[in-house]
Structure formats: C-alpha cells, structure tokens
Symmetry: C2
C-alpha cells in the first residue's frame, strides 16, 4: 500500500510566525502523499476578544454558540486555512483548503445537548468520510489542508483538529499505509517530564501499559496516547507524537519523536 | 460544446439572509455545470469596523493594506465562502470553496504601485487560470465557489469578484459554451432608469453603440456593459445581467434579464 502522512499542527506552530514559515517549508518538502490538519484556538480567542465575542469553556472544551461559530468559520476557515494554503503554494506545494463541507468530505452530526450544551460542535466518524474525493485529490498530487470545521445540513460545526486527523487516518487506512503525526511543543513523549531531552523512542500496547503502571507519564500526554492507540486499533499503521521543528526527521524508521505502534 | 454557467453575486444577495437562502436553493437547482463567484465588501467593512480596521477607498476602490488583507481573508475566504458552500451542500449541491491559491487555480500579480498604492490587490489574466483543475472538478460534478481572493508568492491578494467571474469565463470559453451571469439589484439593464419594469431584452454590439449615443444608459451600468463586451470579444458566448431572484428564469433563450451577445 502507498504511504500517506497525515500531520496535525496546533498553537505552538500557528501562533509563531517563524515556526509556521519553517514548518510550511518542511512540510512542502515531504516527497509523499500528505494531508495537513490545523487548529487555531488561540488566534480565534484573540480575534473574538477584539469582536466582543466571549470565549467560554467547560472542562477545557469551547462552547460554540452562534457568534463563536461565525468567529471560527472566519478564523479557522478563512484566516488560518487560506494563509497556510498560500504559504504552501509559495513552496510549489499544490495545496487545497477544505472544511468538512467542501466536496462533502467530512459530514458530521451536531452533538446532542447533554449535561452541557456545547453548541455548534460536530461529531464525525471514519465511515462517513468521503474518501473517494480525497483519493481523487491525492492522485492529482493535490494536498488537502483541513480547517477544524465540519457541517450538518446548513450548519457549519466546530470539530477538534486532533479528532479530524485521527478520523481521516482511520478512514484512509484501508487504502494507504498511514503515519499519523501529531506535532506539539515537546520533542516527543518524555520519560521524565523535567527532562526535555529524554524522549521515549517507541511505545507499543505492552510498553504503554507498563508506563501507565509506573506512572511515568504526565497527565497532559494521556489523552494524546489514548487517541493514538484508538487510531491504531482501528487500522492506522503508526502514530508519531513529536516536535513540529523535527518534522523531516520524523518521517522514517528512525525518529526524533515518539513512534507509537500496535 | 457543453454548457457552463458562471454566476456572480454581490451585496444585494449576500447582505440579505433571505435573499441568500433563496438564491442558494435556486442555484442548487441548476442542472448544468456551474461555478459561483461571490463578493462581500459590505460585510467585510462591517466586521472591519468592529475590529478597528478602517475601510479606505480611492475612486470607489478599496485600499488593501495588511490588516485589511487579513480581514478579507477571514471574511471573504472564511465567513462568506464557507457559509455558501455549506448552504449549497444542504441542498445536495456538491460545492467546494476556492480562493486563487487553492489548487493554484488563480495565480495573480500584485498590482504595481502607481499614482495610488492599492496594497495587496491581485491582477489576473485568462491565460494563467488553472483550467485543468477546474475541468477535473466540474467533471466530478463538483461545483467551484470562488471567494474574491487570489495570490502571488505567499501573499493573499484581494481581487474584484466581477473580474474573477469574467477572467474565469474567458479562460473556460475554449472548452465550454458559457453564459456569464451577473446578478445585481435590478431585473436587468433598464431602458428608463425611473422604470424598474422596463428591461432591455437583448444588447449586441450594434444596439450597444446606439444606446450609448442615445444616452439612455445610467452611469452605474456602463462598467458592467464594458466588462460584458470585453468578455464576449475574448470568446465568452453570452453575458446576462439580471436580478438574483430571477436566476432560474435567466438560464435559457427567454430571459427576465438583459442578454448580451456579440
């Protein structure tokens, strides 16, 4: 099966002009089919503040009321997404910016109201991904760049970028050998949270359980690892968690970051 | 040659929630290959005001400094474009939102500084349009929806929506029989500016000269007609100028609006 890289970037790259420039150059240099997924929460909050749109959260998750939904349409779907696509084109990487509505790639379901009403938030699943449109783009050497937005009916919905990356990976794992790469602010999963240089090279199901028992892992990394194993159990070959600056060193067998396998 | 409709809408549709809903439903109903181009200046100005970004104009043309360029990326490329695509998808019209950078469809040249520095404004020409990518989308029954943004290098550029519509039409006229439709607030070009019902059915080169001599036409319509004949002289079969509400009645031989031919 052909190799495909699905790479997700967040604030540590997006909020830093130089880091973003550097990343887009590196990403353009990857000589394989690839997909980029981006976040942008901090930028949305900043612009929201300027517009008098209050950013509300419950348990760290944003409430997307109507003004917030318009805000994220503008910021994720416009400001950030179009800037990334243009930056990639300047490196002759033939990118195309997508939300879930474009080409109907990611139809979603508006999250039902539970204890909390999160508003215009979309839940997605691998079987609903429009994989044929994505193959069609990838075959033409067009590089999809996903904003963290999906849709249902005529509603644009806010969806977590990490989730979009993993759902895309699972959906496309039938036809590609996928490395799903999550770029974050550290070089990888750390053995010792106080020592940035001490990256765990490889984590599989067995060593994961061991690390959990040893209570070596810091809280913040746990959801990332659960997410990673979830994707692997659904068919994704490999997940890598590493630094955005190490992108080109995280594509092969030897990696700077932490490789996660079955 | 196969028929293709290229339809441009502006403020009279975009600034009115009901008009936009109605238009998107009609547009979705067109059973031919089609492309939509939208503007959005008023909405950009309104949001710009809220962000403290002053909207400056010289001779009716917006100056796009850097903050304004970010503003239009957000509003044209995000808020309006994504909303239109989603609205079309809700009618099962398989739309995809594009700026000039997406799939490199509309590479532009940043307008050189003349008497006035218009800032980040892009000039485009038919021969640079990436027609193969557009055919590729149209063949798949995907409907391109253009925001009025182009690019050069890593700069997003502001480009007039009317111009994008006509440049696309000229570029695609080699392979399609095109009707380029400009939707505006009147039902068509009026014989008598004081009588909204009095639409001129057909204007060709000869009758155009006559109308100019008779000084029947109001100033505001002249650039639209010059633009129309310019497109026709470069190969576009027909241009129609009419009301957005009459879209479905302006697709055939008989029209509510004004048909412009060689």
């Amino acid at each position: 099966m052909q190799r495909l890289y699905i790479i997700k970037i967040g604030g540590n790259v997006l909020d830093d002009e130089n880091a973003l420039k550097h990343f887009l150059k590196d990403f353009s240099g990857i000589q394989f089919p690839k997909i980029l997924v981006h976040g942008g929460g901090k930028i949305a909050t900043k612009i929201g503040d300027q517009l008098g749109i209050e950013s509300k959260y419950v348990n760290g998750r944003r409430i997307t009321d109507e003004p917030t939904r318009d805000l994220v349409s503008m910021v994720y779907g416009g400001l950030i997404n179009r800037k990334i696509v243009t930056g990639l084109q300047s490196h002759h990487c033939n990118a195309i910016g997508l939300t879930g509505a474009d080409g109907n790639v990611l139809p979603a379901t508006k999250r039902p109201v539970g204890k909390v009403d999160f508003g215009y938030v979309g839940d997605i699943e691998p079987k609903r991904v429009n994989t044929s449109f994505l193959y069609f783009l990838l075959k033409q050497n067009v590089v999809p760049v996903f904003a963290p937005l999906t849709y249902e009916g005529d509603d644009i919905l806010n969806t977590n970028a990490d989730t979009i990356a993993s759902v895309l990976a699972v959906a496309l794992s039938k036809h590609f050998q996928i490395r799903l790469i999550y770029c974050f602010e550290k070089k990888g999963v750390l053995k010792d949270v106080n020592n940035d240089g001490n990256v765990i090279q490889l984590i599989n199901s067995t060593s994961y359980r061991q690390l959990l028992d040893e209570k070596v892992l810091v809280d913040g990394i746990l959801p990332k690892l659960e997410n990673a194993f979830d994707a692997i159990h659904q068919g994704v070959s490999e997940v890598l968690i590493g630094g955005a600056g190490d992108l080109l060193k995280n594509l092969g067998e030897e990696t700077e970051g932490t490789l996660i396998k079955q």
